[in-house]
Amino acid sequence: MEGNFYPLLKWMILPPLAGFVLNGLLGKKFLSERAGGILGSLAVLLSFVFALLSLSDLLNLPAADRLLRDTLFTWISAGPFTVDFALRLDPLSAVMALVVSGVSFLIHVYSIGYMHGDKGFHKYFSYLNFFVFFMLVLVLADNPVLMFVGWEGVGLASYLLIGFWYEDPEKASAGKKAFITNRIGDAGFLAGLMLLAAVMHAGGVYALDFSTLSANAQLAAGASFAGVNAAFLIGVLLFVGATGKSAQFPLYVWLPDAMAGPTPVSALIHAATMVTAGVYMLARMFFLYEAAPAALDVVLVTGCFTAFLAAVIAVAQRDIKKVLAYSTVSQLGFMFMAVGAGAWAAGVFHLTTHAFFKALLFLAAGSVIHGLSGEQDLFKMGGLRKHMRTTFILTATGWLALSGVPPLAGFYSKDLILEKVFTSGAGFVWLTGLLTAALTAYYISRLLILAFMDNYRGREHAHESPAVMTVPMGLLAALSVVGGMAGAAWLLPFLQPGAPPEHHSALMIAISVAAAAAGIIAAFLITGRRIGGGHHAAWCPRSLAAAWPRLHRLVYNKFYVDEIYEALLLKPLARFADWTFRVPDSKVIDGALVNGTARLFMSLGRTLGAAQTGNAQFYAIVFMAGLCLLLAAVLAGYYL
């Protein structure tokens, strides 16, 4: 096997597992709240340290040969089919591992403050560690099957954490919705893997690790299934998996609902790390997409459409977390646009910067919610820049980063994506992306204005969050500021060592900055002007709402996509299941066939029983007639 044997990798995933077990089993009884929180955070910190150590070892290798592997044991082996429990560190997974463990650590620390006093404190940290464990398995997996373990594992963690406050049936339902929607995607992922494995086996390739798959990608390109090119089909099916996990159209509906979980969870799982797994997976499997450019077109168009749709929906939301959730969906769309345009490194770059500023924004939102004792409605906030100064400054950093204002992180990555899309020749997609970038700047500015400007409109007393929450946010803010510059200088060449350096055209930069500026200005004009007017009761979206009431209702209700799914898919399916049980199962199979047979024999018995008159002589006559027949038959044998 190629690559260097590197036993350190397993130590990257083990501390969170240990943290999960310790906090989960012992937490409530033996650990204080502080100890539990520190234990959970330390476990992730340990992973981060190991990730750094591994990275330094990786960097010591020559650029073309940067691959470290750690095979723990043969996991599944049946017939010729073998899957190892093996980990892999290459530039891509190193970046991901660092982002995951780093951001996770910060959010763990933040959570100590945020979850203070919650009944399920230890459970929370054990779940969080559980998530980090599976996320690292996903990232470090050396084969798609093990990756799938992490893939579903993080889904489970997400399910558990969304439904963390399970006593609220709506939150529990949101968890279930997330899990099931993800399952639909996962089925696509599995189908893609099945086809991939079948193609490889047909070509005599039985190992499923990424290096082997990559080396044999032409097998998929040369095969076809049901008349369709296999590589294309695999690409699309895997992308279906990605749409589930990374909340792309049409499976994005679970992510906004997932905001039912604690806000740090939204930051960690539903913004920074888990939801980006789809992008990571596509980047990881990019060798397949190279063999099937048509699949990339699907990715590009879907990403673009999702980015635009989600940005539009975000414009009209009232719930601070919903705005950020749709923003995440939209930004994930950007990442898929990058992958779809063939620039997976740009996608991963945006993934990284997005992890910083979106985590920051979510944590800031969490800080606001925490400070307002649970209020999430933007219309009941306002003026918080006075009450929560630190949070305001941090949010503003995130705002600029997300809007794409140079030189903050978001500008670099988003600009790169738009440029790549443009150079790939997809003009319409580029235009839509540009529009979406403007919308992005608009809705995030709107959020900032509504929450922090003007005067406070709520009733609860607003208070600033403790340092254990603000310090991690500060670190994330710093990363949001410098992440873009550092990434452009260092991350891209690290990810794609052989690639030529980027040539940025000044025109492109100007256009994209102009779009961001337009969005911000529009937000201040539309939302901010109302503030100046002082119509506190007649609040800002009214201006848009008053201009296009129908359109506003449509957007505010998220284009009724949930309702459409409910009416067209879920309800009919549930009713069909019910019908299946009531009619074919109970009535036809059990009623008519099984018990019907029993009834048939019962009535047959009754009918024949009527012949039993009780008259013994009648029986005797019948008996003798039978005897005669028998004799006749025997004699007929002799004489005929």
């Binding site: 044991f73 043969t74 996991w75 599944i76 082996s77 049946a78 017939g79 010729p80 089919f81 599976f134 099957v145 799938f148 373990v149 893939w151 579903e152 594992g153 489970l156 399910y159 439904g163 399970y166 006593e167 609220d168 049936p169 529990a172 339902s173 279930k176 899990f179 099931i180 399952r183 996962d186 089925a187 599995l190 189908a191 099945m194 086809l195 494995a197 079948a198 193609v199 086996h201 047909a202 040369g222 095969a223 076809s224 299934f225 008349g227 369709v228 090119n229 296999a230 549930a574 069909f576 299941a577 019910d578 299946t580 049980f581 199962d585 199979i589 059990d590 066939l593 099984v594 029993a598």
Partner: protein
């Protein structure tokens, strides 16, 4: 004692002997029957474990084999032995039996001596089925097992126990009679060809082809399909499960259903490879259809036990696809999935039984918010639920994954249909979990439920340990069945041709 046939016989007959002993206990000592039964089933597990550790995965054919004259006039011999597949089923049975016994300590209060005697006799019957290598011996064990099960459902069952037990009995009996007819046909046919009367399993491999082979195969297949249960022969299962006491459900789901699949592997397919090759697809298609059908019907249930029962139809459906596809990975997966289903569904029934003992209802609507009241139980139930859903890292995934990947290479359509079950299983299982465990505690009767007790932990923990173990390190089990799976595929005339992936005309 050497690890050999003596140990095998010990493992098989020890429970029966203990059962007779328990049945003969004086009435005053009735309270001893439970502990005695537990001890004896645990004692029987020791030789089974020894056999498992002493099993050499590399050797082909049967191990610990014994061949003694039995009914010489008929040519029937007492032939027993284990290969990798039956070894796994054997240890599963020996493993589940003590749990079933332990789970009934508080649940069964009447006729305890007879109850435990039945349970132990059932254990002997089940172990015998997996060890028997003589058709007549197999048939005797197969039928003998029905009787204690019939009693367990019919005497200690729920409200409609008589209906359920009679349905169970007649349904399986009808299938068995067809099998008996087929066995006799084979027996006399063999005699007329060779002049030897024999019931040895090995004598009948590839024994009939053409139309006769197909008819005989269908006779065997029907008998086994009822047991599996394959759609549409499944309706006895929900009734039997719902009415059976917890231990009965555990055994029923854990072991009895596996016998149908085992029958296909050991008898129906190797005896008539040609027919199995032809009829394999339709039967597997029934299985794949059953995956969707069982999931949908499970979704429609209000009763937890019934839901789990219908989920068994789905799980066994996918196992049938794996068994008949004759692809090494898929068959291995199917065999492992049989164990997985035994563990996870057994554990589910165990958990439902625990709930039932506390609240005496199985309707989901009567629960809600249980996670708050019984957090440990909720965690256990969650793990078991996830195992049933097939979450990676737990046992269910390994089996389903291998079956799907193996089957896809031969029958992509069936594999894709079965994949639908992956989605649906999450829908109905998590829906059930949510209704029972999440939400507010609306029913005041639920407020004071105690969490798991020591005895219940003892029941659940071994199952959980295996669920995780198989999920994380399945190779420990897969390694031991590899040879047997290859033997099976060879006898079945497989592997089947893989579908063409050649580049299309486009």
């Amino acid at each position: 004692m050497m690890i050999g046939p003596d140990l095998l016989n010990l493992a098989i007959y020890l429970p029966l002997a203990a059962g007779v002993l328990i049945a003969l206990l004086p009435r005053a000592k009735e309270h001893l029957s439970g502990p005695l039964a537990l001890t004896s089933s645990l004692l029987a597990f020791i030789p089974a474990l020894a056999l498992y550790t002493g099993f050499d995965p590399a050797l082909p054919g049967m191990q610990f084999a014994q061949d003694l004259p039995w009914l010489s006039a008929l040519g029937a011999r007492y032939t027993i032995g284990l290969d990798g597949i039956s070894m796994l089923m054997f240890i599963l049975t020996a493993f589940l039996a003590p749990i079933a016994v332990l789970s009934s300590f508080t649940a069964v209060k009447e006729h305890r001596r007879f109850y435990y005697a039945s349970l132990l006799a059932l254990q002997t019957g089940m172990l015998g089925v997996f060890a028997a290598l003589d058709l007549l011996l197999f048939y005797v064990f197969w039928e003998a097992m029905l009787i204690p099960m019939y009693f367990i459902i019919g005497i200690w069952g729920g409200r409609r126990r008589i209906y359920a037990s009679v349905k169970f009995f007649i349904y399986t009996m009808a299938g068995s009679l067809l099998m008996l007819a087929a066995i006799l046909w084979l027996y006399f046919d063999h005699q007329s060809r060779t002049g030897v009367y024999t019931f040895a399993l090995t004598a009948y491999n590839n024994s009939a082809a053409g139309g006769t082979g197909m008819l005989l195969f269908l006779a065997f297949a029907l008998a086994f399909a009822v047991k599996v249960p394959l759609w549409p022969f499944h309706t006895w299962l929900p009734d039997a499960h719902v009415e059976a006491p917890t231990a009965g459900s555990i055994i029923l789901a854990g072991v009895l259903l596996k016998m149908g699949v085992y029958g296909f592997i050991r008898i129906a397919v190797p005896f008539f490879p040609e027919a199995a090759m032809t009829a394999g697809w339709p039967i597997a298609a029934l299985g794949a259809f059953g995956v969707i059908y069982g999931s949908l019907t499970a979704w429609a249930q209000d009763d937890i036990k019934k839901l789990v029962a219908y989920s068994s139809v789905a799980h066994l459906g996918i196992v049938m696809v794996g068994v008949l596809v004759l692809e090494p990975a898929a068959v291995s997966g199917a065999v492992l999935q049989m164990v997985n289903h035994g563990l996870s569904t057994g554990a589910l029934f165990l958990c439902v039984g625990m709930l039932y003992e506390r609240r005496h209802t199985r309707l989901m609507a009567d629960y809600g918010g249980i996670a708050k009241i019984m957090p440990a139980f909720a965690a256990v139930f969650m793990i078991v639920t996830l195992s049933s859903i097939g979450l990676p890292g737990l046992n269910g995934f390994i089996g389903e994954f291998l079956i799907l990947f193996g089957a896809f290479k031969v029958w992509p359509c069936l594999a894709l249909v079965s994949l639908g079950g992956v989605i649906l299983s999450a829908v109905y299982m998590l829906g059930m979990y949510q209704k029972v465990f999440f939400g507010p505690v609306s029913n005041t009767a639920n407020k004071e439920l105690p969490d798991l007790k020591v005895r219940e932990w003892l029941c659940v923990l071994p199952l959980l340990a295996l669920i995780v173990w198989i999920g994380v390190y399945p190779n420990f089990f897969l390694r031991r069945i590899d040879t047997a799976v290859n033997d099976y595929i060879r006898l079945a005339g497989g592997p089947r041709p893989v579908f063409s992936l050649a580049k299309g005309e486009k």
